[in-house]
Amino acid sequence: MEEVKFIPGTHSKYFKRFLQMMPPQTQKGDTQRLMFAFFAISGLDILNALESCNAQHRQDMIEWIYSLQIQPDDDEESWSRCGFMGSCTFKLQSKESREYQHSHIAMTYTALSSLIILGDDLSRVNRPAVIRGVRALQQPDGSFCAHLGGSENDMRFIFCAAVICYTLKDWSGMDMPLVEDFIKSSLSYEGAIAQGPGLEAHGGSTYCAIAALVLMGRLSIFSDEQLDRLRNWLLMRQVAGFQGRPNKPDDTCYSFWVGATLKLLDRYQFIDKKKNREFILSTQQNLTGGFSKWPDNTSDPLHTYFGLCGLSLMSEPGLKEIDCALNMSVDAAKRLEQIQTWNS
């Protein structure tokens, strides 16, 4: 079989196009534009291509992100709504529609991460308001909802909450013991972690839980035995690329979800890198750029971003190293450390 060549330049162009204008089929992502921006911004950073976006363009991106911040008003209750929205679709001025002006936890997370990657110092982030907004989303069982308008609650938003608290160096955004309880009770009989108690163990929720625990400094809630069982489950996910659950097809993004978790648990060295790389590149779309979940599918920003991350974990030349818990380049993570000069 002819070896597929990795074409980083084409992927950079793909992300730059998305940053400008996304095609009509992304209408269904209208409330998540910030998340798409994050994939492109962090993706370009990992591709070492962010510097080639001119300074004005980067500043425009920073301004756009800040335009999505929700600030508190005189009403004490308004603090629960703070953070970032995903888009300006319902950013309205009317008092009657105030209840609809609330943050989305994944958008707050991707906003903060994008700002750091773009070189912003987070000085215009209303830290106490963002933290109060996150805390308002925690449920009695320890999990988090995404927003106040009626939302599901699961492991994804625990990860978002953890990154936000870590970034702003303020863990009052969560009741940590409750989060630990939820994660422990989401460990399935398979030895890996589901979206919630009783549900099926899954590569994505496992990443979210482990990355959150690493950021919280609380990986110790699991015994060595439990961690070894989990490591084994994760390693069993490799088919050629990685699958998210037993007996499912491999899918590019799991090269990151499962791969990054293995890195965090110090077992990534045991994967078959050649087969993993071959699979990821088999989902590369040479004409349009980007990666898709499976070979011969249309590429999308999520699979493009995580395909690149999957390659970066194997030290693919030309790609930056990733901080696996924060899900950004190590460069960006170092910059975060430098700007975290505020007192907790």
Binding site: L19, Q20, M21, M22, P23, P24, T26, Q27, K28, G29, D30, T31, Q32, R33, L34, F36, A37, A40, D60, M61, E63, W64, I65, C88, T89, F90, K91, L92, Q93, S94, E96, S97, E99, Y100, H104, A146, H147, G149, G150, S151, E152, S188, Y189, E190, Q195, G196, G198, L199, E200, A201, N232, L235, M236, Q238, R245, P246, N247, K248, F270, D272
Partner: protein
């Protein structure tokens, strides 16, 4: 592909519905001044919205700003959701209107079922369903709904999750083991069905010796049909770990594994299971440690070479 997913504006030729009339051209909406989206200058990740999308959402913004709650807005939210079922604010608005107008929620269940059918992997449609069922306090349609969805995609995480919520909230465990049997019969490798089996047992019989014995028999039977099926092996490990003897203490299971080896029916999952059995004994038993090394060598060099680095590591560190 459903009617509403075809490019809406050319719908008239493909479906029986009348052509979509933009809201700005509707007499009955003349009283509303649409509000265009207020993005900043040089916005990022701009979307190239269709004309219909802009029209619908411009009108939605206008009525949302005034919090109008009426049948016409309910219809508008339907159009908005068909264009973007992930817009959680529209779903929130819709629920407010349903409450305010005291709309018959059974009518909403019909709409909800249609949306789930069209967008089975969307989080918001499933959350909305849960919210309506909670408001109604009536789960009678849910088992059929999820079963129908699972017929299209037997591993849909959302469908299984909704079903688990219904069954647990309303105490409807009665037919669930039979469902698992049926789904496993249809696809022995359906990991979601195996997980549901464990979930049902945890919430009903528990893991008494009698129940475990019966489930071990069942699982060994399924393994015999497909010795590479990781789902069955994981389930077996799971139920044994609920017993005081753990993974290594079940004679039937040990004999079964030995028989597979003896008849040369080797799979990576079988050998990995034997590694686990022997690892459990390895602390006190030198023979078990040697067995682990032997099994790991076989896995690394022959049976599961993709993970050879891992098996070699285990052999060295046992």
């Amino acid at each position: 592909m459903s009617e509403t997913e075809s490019s809406g504006d050319e719908c008239v030729l493909k479906c029986k519905k009348p052509a979509f009339v933009l809201y700005r051209n509707r007499e009955e909406w003349k009283d509303v001044v649409p509000i265009p989206q207020a993005d900043v200058h040089n916005a990022v990740v701009a979307i190239n919205y269709s004309e219909k999308f802009k029209d619908v959402y411009d009108y939605l913004r206008a009525v949302l700003a005034k919090q109008e709650k009426s049948e016409r807005v309910l219809k508008l939210t339907e159009d908005a959701l068909n264009l973007n079922p992930a817009n959680y604010s529209v779903w929130q608005y819709r629920r407010e209107i349903l409450r305010c107008l005291k709309i018959d929620l059974r009518r909403e269940l019909v709409f909800s079922a249609k949306m789930i059918h069209q967008h089975p992997k969307n989080y918001q449609v499933w959350y909305h369903r849960k919210a309506i069922v909670e408001m109604l306090g009536d789960p009678s349609a849910e088992l059929e709904l999820t079963k129908n969805d699972l017929e299209y995609d037997s591993k849909n995480y959302h469908a299984w999750q909704h079903r688990q919520w219904v069954v647990q909230t309303f105490g409807m465990f009665d037919g669930e083991m039979v469902l698992c049997d049926t789904m496993i019969e249809a696809d022995i490798r359906n990991n979601s069905a195996w997980n549901h089996r464990f979930f049902v047992m945890s919430n009903t019989t528990g893991f008494t010796p009698q129940v475990v014995a019966a489930q071990v028999d069942y699982t060994l039977q399924q393994i015999s049909k497909a010795i590479h099926n990781e789902s069955a092996w994981n389930f077996l490990r799971g139920i044994l770990c609920q017993t005081k003897d753990g993974i290594s203490g079940n004679i039937k299971v040990n004999t079964f594994c030995e028989n597979l080896i003896a008849s040369n029916n080797i799979s990576p999952q079988l050998l990995a299971f034997l590694v686990d059995i022997n690892m459990a004994l390895a602390k006190e038993d030198q023979q078990a440690r040697e067995k682990v090394k032997e099994l790991c060598m076989q896995l690394a060099t022959d049976v599961d070479t993709i993970r050879h680095n891992y098996w070699n590591y285990l052999a060295q560190t046992v």
